[in-house]
């Protein structure tokens, strides 16, 4: 009797499993298509802009309904990976370009080359497309990006009489070091505070300005790490500001950007290097009357070049409605819509047409400075290097942290980044 019950239960489960295998593919009996759009927008203005755009699309396209799904930056990689493996991924995927490589190489994302309109292709510059190009395919549309800028205490800078940099006449790295030294009083007031909880991407992206590449692809297609003099300029500046000049506090090295804001507002630091979108937090949290301004990051031999990993929109390879999904992406990234998304996220659009919008050229809140930097933003150096996440976590992060805190010298930093690093990369390139 007991055996019979057990058999029935197992059979029932197997039947349920078998019958569950067929999906509806996002279609319905009345022919209406439903697409799921997973957005990572999180700030109120940004969520509102995304939802409004979805509403507008749905109103204009009764046959293709888009469902807005809220995702979160904190866990998007694991969540997407599981969804891809389970065949349940959203049709339209919002992510960052530096998260796409594994998904693209894994065959989870659709190659967009034949799906996107000519308008969109030509509106976004090639240097931005490079951030989402893996192998021969294009696996995402880069649409929002942010440079790292210096947020400065305007009153402090004005009183000190230092030259105020602009995108046309930025500070050099040497000048920056001299100025931060000048602004410090050696008694608890610092010229700059570096929030370097994530030291690797900050250092590598800023090092593009000095011609630093670190990752070099050889004729055999394999990537190797080299730490040349050009790669050392930015790290050495930071190291010396903390350990030689005492113009930057060591205490913020392990902090995130938000953690340094109270000290910035409290007049402890004259400048904080932050992502462009931090301006929203500053507007919200700065004490009344606090005068701040946005300055370009220092320039090196390659000018203001800087590495970025733009936010992207991709289409899932498993989506049965790739053409419709790409049409929605095209709608979302019409120039006027891209402007709305950029304003909502306090970031810069990649689209040339959107970038010309007066709302993004105003001096208020430093928009004009950001727009002036947009042409110098490049693909982050490590963007498509397989093995980069492991190198970053196991080798580079501790090495940079120790170097910046003064525990090791530049020789040891070089040794670890290159020797240990190449061993890691070699495992991914056999």
């Amino acid at each position: 009797m007991r055996t019979r019950w057990l058999t029935a239960l197992v059979a029932g489960l197997l039947f349920a499993a078998a019958s569950g295998c067929s999906g509806d593919g996002g279609g319905s009996e009345d022919g209406r298509i439903t697409l799921r759009f997973q957005s990572l927008a999180w700030q109120k203005e940004s969520v509102d802009a995304n939802k409004e755009l979805v509403r507008e699309w749905n109103a204009a396209h009764p046959d293709i309904h888009v469902e807005y799904v809220q995702g979160s930056w904190d866990s998007v990689h694991d969540q997407l990976l599981t969804s891809f493996e389970g065949g349940e991924a959203p049709d339209i995927i919002h992510d960052a370009s530096d998260d796409l490589a594994d998904f693209a190489y894994g065959g989870y994302l659709a190659d967009l080359r034949g799906l996107l309109s000519e308008r969109l292709k030509s509106d976004i510059p090639q240097r931005s497309w490079e951030t989402t190009t893996f192998g021969d395919g294009v696996y995402g549309v880069p649409f929002l990006q942010e440079p790292r800028v210096l947020i400065a205490n305007a009153e402090w800078l004005e009183k000190s009489g230092v030259r105020i940099p602009t995108p046309e006449k930025p500070w050099s790295w040497g000048e920056f070091r001299t100025i931060t030294d000048e602004l410090s009083d050696g008694d608890g007031k610092y010229g700059v505070a570096w929030p370097l909880k994530e030291p690797v991407s900050a250092t590598l992206n800023l090092s593009l300005s000095t011609g630093g590449q670190l990752f070099h692809r050889g004729a055999d297609g394999k990537v190797r790490i080299r730490f040349d003099e050009a790669d050392a300029v930015v790290p050495r500046t930071i190291h010396d500001q903390v350990n030689t000049d005492a113009s930057a506090p060591g205490s913020t090295l392990g902090s995130g950007g938000s953690d340094t804001l109270p000290g910035f507002f409290g007049g402890k630091y004259a400048m904080v290097p932050l992502g462009f979108s931090y301006r929203q937090q500053i507007v919200q949290q700065a004490p009344k009357g606090f005068d701040w301004q946005v300055l370009p990051a220092p320039a090196g031999a390659d000018g203001l070049a800087q590495g970025v990993s733009p936010q992207t929109l991709s289409v899932a390879q498993d989506s049965p409605h790739k053409k419709e999904a790409a049409a929605f992406v095209d709608f979302l990234l019409q120039p006027r819509n891209m402007v709305r998304l950029a304003l909502g996220d306090w970031m810069l659009p990649t689209g040339t047409e959107a970038l010309r919008d007066p709302a993004l050229r105003t001096d208020e809140h430093g928009w004009a400075v950001g727009a002036g930097l947009a042409g110098r933003l490049r693909s982050a150096p490590a963007q498509s290097v397989r093995g980069y996440p492991e190198w970053k976590d196991k080798v580079a992060t501790p090495a940079f942290q120790e170097y910046y805190s003064g525990a090791i010298g530049v020789g040891e930093l070089r040794k670890r980044l290159v020797e240990d690093g190449n061993l890691v990369l070699a495992r991914y390139q056999r």
Binding site: A16, Q70, S75, G257, F265, G266, Q285
Partner: protein, 277 residues
């Protein structure tokens, strides 16, 4: 005498320090939830907000479906707690009273299963639930939570059952009570505090669980509180701190309430589990 007094004072001081240490995150969370943005960015933060505001709560409710999420969390956590206890109690009784090789092996397996990392099981689990059409459903999530809570619940309950003297059941049998009557009238009341403590464990772990809920629930109306809380976080750890603190404070309230309501029973349950016959 003086030494003993000093020792006691030291013990109290240590206890007080520990209590402060435990309370600090929660009190700071409450304080943050009532601070306006400008106070959040202050270099000299205060315990008591200078200009307390409810704006963070308003914003949190405006931006995210917190009530729906709380309801989903409640259904998932209560469902998991009740079902886990219903399944684990008879199993624990058998394992505690009949110490066979099978029971020992089962105990070993229960302990080992606690070592499985989430990422190891999530993809197979996802596929199974997908085939059962239980993705994006709270009942599906309850099933996962039950399976996840069962080993530890079982382990806890075995201890509680062992603490109930078998002699009492034998005495009841001698007095003519049948097996069912003995279980219902003698064993169950003695086991009640342990069952409550176990249910509470299952409830709290399901209430706080994030990863399974994140992966298994797709649409906003199905998501639970821990998942919705992450919507206040941006890239690279940037957070909308005020609304996040307000929402997190609200999310901790049910656990605190449940604890407050059944505190006595839990204490009894823990003591019962600690005593060996």
């Amino acid at each position: 005498m003086r030494t003993r007094r000093r020792t006691r004072a030291g013990q109290y001081a240590a206890l007080l320090a520990y209590l402060v240490f435990l309370a600090f995150p929660f009190l700071w969370l409450v304080s943050t939830a009532f601070k306006p943005p400008r106070e959040l960015g202050s270099l000299h933060p205060t315990w008591i907000p200078r200009n307390p505001t409810l704006d963070n709560f308003r914003q949190a409710f405006d931006e995210q479906p917190l009530l729906d999420a709380a309801l989903n969390s409640l259904v998932a956590a209560l469902g998991a707690a009740v079902i886990a206890v219903l399944i684990a109690t008879p199993m624990a009784y058998v394992m505690a009273r009949h110490r066979t090789r099978l029971a020992k092996a089962a105990t070993g397996w229960v302990v080992v299963s606690q070592a499985f990392p989430f990422v190891l099981v999530i993809i197979p689990l996802f596929l199974v639930l997908k085939n059962l059409r239980l993705i994006n459903s709270v009942p599906g999530l309850v099933m996962v939570y039950v399976v996840w809570a069962l080993p530890f619940a079982l382990w806890m309950l075995v201890g509680y059952v062992r603490a109930v003297p078998a002699e009492m059941e034998e005495a009841a049998a001698v007095d003519g009570a049948g097996k069912v009557r003995t279980l219902v009238s003698i064993t169950a009341p003695l086991l009640a505090p342990g069952i409550v403590a176990t249910a509470l464990f299952a409830f709290i772990s399901a209430w706080n669980e994030f990863f399974f809920a994140l992966v298994l629930l797709k649409t906003p109306e199905k998501q639970t509180l821990p998942v919705v809380l992450t919507h206040f976080l941006g890239a690279e750890g940037v957070a909308d701190l005020g609304p996040l603190a307000a929402a997190a404070f609200l999310a901790t309230l049910p656990s605190l309430l449940v604890f407050a309501l059944i505190q006595k029973r839990i204490t009894g349950g823990m003591l019962a589990g600690a005593v060996k016959s």
